[in-house]
């Protein structure tokens, strides 16, 4: 495996051996290491000193179920701190087949912001790197762009691409990847990495692994044995059946039951229309509609969970794939919208623009509170999204996410930490996830350590910091392995599978605590980057209104002690 270093100004590629100290890491952990070693923490996130780094996790490349995720990262233009966002799909797999341990994109063309500056497609294959002109793709949506690139480069390639939002430098812009069916819907969505890619004037990166091969395995017999046990544990786990049938939208009624489903700009934790947008209803609708609709769908080749779905309209024709719980929460209940069809249409539009549905849903909620739309008015929400496509000042404000929208529109009830929107777990009702929002180096992000499944009283402030710490360490570990969080169900049954897989793959002799060791190291590196960027404990705080305004129906505030927040990383 090698480090591929691309210079976007010189349009050159250097293939380098993996430096010592980087070889033990992958995914999110390697990303943090590269950023700390190479990116000045105080740099302009959209300037020439920031780098866009793409790293498959340590276990990527073997179609191990739910373990082919790829991490994208850089300094975030949204949080202005460390950023990692990962995605499924085919990008990670193809990168490893090209022998790429990390792709580091440096610099940017001279004067990238001048009118008419060129756009490029970066094409990577065993023959090296090519920059191909892509001005014809400027302003083109994600779906059309992907279709045109697949026609041009063949349907065997993996693609990471941005939409119009990334081109405009909007800080809610993500980077999209093809799923196993070539749909560009696996999104490294959070924290504005699409804007970082746009600042390098890259519309897309094409990975063509033709002629490549799987990464080497030091002990194939042991790997196969560990893989077999892991797959069995995952298949046998009852949670796998729930996610296969209902996907992440199973969480809609669960969060509502806890009084933690964000509703009308985080003003209530319960939504009267929950039954119409629940995972149970979604499954019924998709089974009834048939056609391209499917309640069970794999985003990565080889996944045995298949938690994804394809939402078809009344004629069965696909509108969007997948609808996830986060989108249902932020663009449904949070906007007072109780129609899955409307949520699907908004989801498709946001995907095509190349934006993060979480931050956009939160931004629209804030806009509704400011009076720009009525809660429940999906047509108006779509009209506001059309402003983003037109690039109007209002559209650009929204496309910078909830924090910017709140600042410009004078709304104080803005659900963000470090400038990034909370996802669909109300921190006043699911307080452990609230601790994660507040303390994660990534900004508010449930994937950094969600505690909703722990069997604790989610309203008790005293137990939440320890709970969040454990979850954050595990998640940073899984993100470093390239494991989907749902792979965790299988790993939790027999945690020794993780060292067995790593030792067989790399010829290492790591022990039973490797997941936690990788997690702690990753968090330490990320926190150090943020410290250098100027972050202090003052940045690890919940918005003040969430400590003071009680959330119905549990009438709770976020009351985890500040000393508990400051102690989360004292392990």
């Amino acid at each position: 495996m090698q480090i591929w270093r691309v210079n976007a100004r010189e349009q050159s590629l250097k293939q380098e051996p993996v430096p010592e100290g980087w070889d033990r890491l992958g995914g999110r952990g390697l990303l943090a290491r590269v950023l700390l070693d190479e990116v000045p923490a105080t740099c302009d996130p959209l300037g020439r000193h920031n780098r866009l780094v793409v790293t498959p996790g340590l276990l990527v490349g073997h179609m191990l179920s739910s373990c082919d995720r790829v991490s994208f990262g850089g300094k975030s233009p949204m949080t202005r701190g460390v950023k990692e966002a990962n995605a499924g799909g085919s990008t990670g797999l193809q990168m490893t087949h090209l022998g790429i341990k990390a792709l580091i994109i440096e610099d940017q063309p001279a004067d990238p912001d001048r009118a008419g500056a060129s756009w490029w497609v970066l094409h990577l294959s065993l023959a090296g790197a090519r920059f191909e002109p892509a001005d014809d793709l400027a302003g083109v949506g994600v779906f059309d762009t992907a279709a045109r690139l697949l026609t041009q480069y063949g349907d065997k390639v993996a693609i990471a691409l941005i939409g119009p939002a990334g081109e405009l430098g909007l800080t809610a812009a993500g980077i999209q990847n093809l799923d196993k069916d070539k749909v560009p819907s696996r999104i490294a969505a959070r924290g504005g990495l699409g804007a970082v890619m746009g600042s390098k004037r890259l519309k897309a990166i094409v990975f063509d692994a033709k002629g490549g091969q799987k990464p080497p395995i030091a002990d194939p017999g042991a790997f196969k044995q560990a893989q077999k046990l892991f797959t069995k544990n995952l298949m046998d786990h009852p949670q796998t059946a729930v996610y296969r049938d209902f996907g992440t939208p199973a969480m809609t009624r669960i969060c509502d039951g806890f009084g933690g489903l964000p509703t009308r700009n985080f003003s209530s934790g319960r939504f009267e229309g929950v039954e119409r947008i629940s995972g149970e209803t979604l499954r019924e609708v998709l089974l009834t509609r048939g056609g391209e609709s499917e309640p069970t769908h794999a985003c990565m080749a080889g996944c045995t969970i298949q938690c994804s779905n394809t939402f078809g309209g009344e004629d069965g024709a696909a509108i969007v794939s997948p609808i996830e719980y986060e989108t249902v929460g932020l663009m449904g209940s949070n906007l007072g919208i109780d129609s899955l069809d409307m949520i699907a249409r908004m989801n498709r539009e946001v995907n095509d623009l190349g934006l993060d549905t979480i931050d956009m849903g939160a931004a629209l909620g804030v806009a509704a509170e400011a009076g720009l739309m009525a809660f429940g008015d999906g047509a108006r929400a779509l009209a506001l999204l059309a402003e983003v496509r037109k690039g109007t000042p209002l559209g650009r404000i929204l496309g910078h996410g909830a924090a910017m929208t709140g600042r410009v529109l004078g709304v104080r009830r803005v659900p963000t930490v470090k400038g990034q929107a909370m996802s669909a777990y109300e921190p006043r009702a699911i307080k452990g996830t609230g601790v994660t929002y507040v303390t994660s180096p990534q900004g508010a992000d449930h994937t950094a350590g969600n505690t909703v499944r722990a069997k604790v009283d989610h309203l008790d402030p005293k137990v939440q910091a320890a709970l969040s710490r454990t979850a954050q360490i595990s998640m940073a570990g899984y993100d470093t392995l390239g494991a989907c969080i749902f792979a965790g169900f299988g790993f939790a049954v027999a945690p020794e599978v993780i060292p067995h897989l790593l030792n067989a793959r790399y010829g290492w002799s790591v022990g039973g605590e490797i997941l936690q060791e990788l997690g702690r190291e990753t968090l330490k590196l990320e926190r150090e980057f943020n410290r250098r960027a100027g972050f202090t404990a003052a940045d690890d705080r919940i918005p003040e209104w969430m400590r003071e305004e009680a959330l119905p129906p549990c009438n709770s505030v976020f009351d985890v002690a500040e000393e508990d927040l400051d102690g989360v990383f004292n392990w």
């Binding site: 199973a250 039951g257 454990t470």
Partner: protein, 90 residues
């Protein structure tokens, strides 16, 4: 009391899938009694019990007007490094 049945616990009835049932129990009943009535095994590891928005134990007494959520197949028990909690997400 109102009982919300989640995902795989929904009941198949001639009218279609049922996910909310009204149940009357004798006074001084517990959550375990309710599970027995619904023929759901009280496996603490396989089901999450929520009363009025709070996680509950099978021994918890029930009151008139309680809102109960029965959520199947929730993984992870007491938080520990070997049994990570909080695995759920988009």
């Amino acid at each position: 009391m109102q009982v919300h049945l989640h995902t795989t616990l929904q009941r198949r009835t001639p009218e279609g899938l049922q996910r909310r049932v009204e149940i009357a129990l004798p006074p001084v009943s517990t959550l375990a009694d309710l599970l027995e009535r619904l023929a759901i095994p009280p496996d603490r590891e396989a089901i999450l019990l929520v009363i009025n928005g709070r996680t509950a134990d099978p021994g918890q007494a029930l009151n008139e007007g309680d809102e109960i959520h029965l959520i199947p197949a929730i993984s992870g028990g007491a938080p520990s490094d070997r049994n990570p909690p909080g695995i759920s997400s988009a």
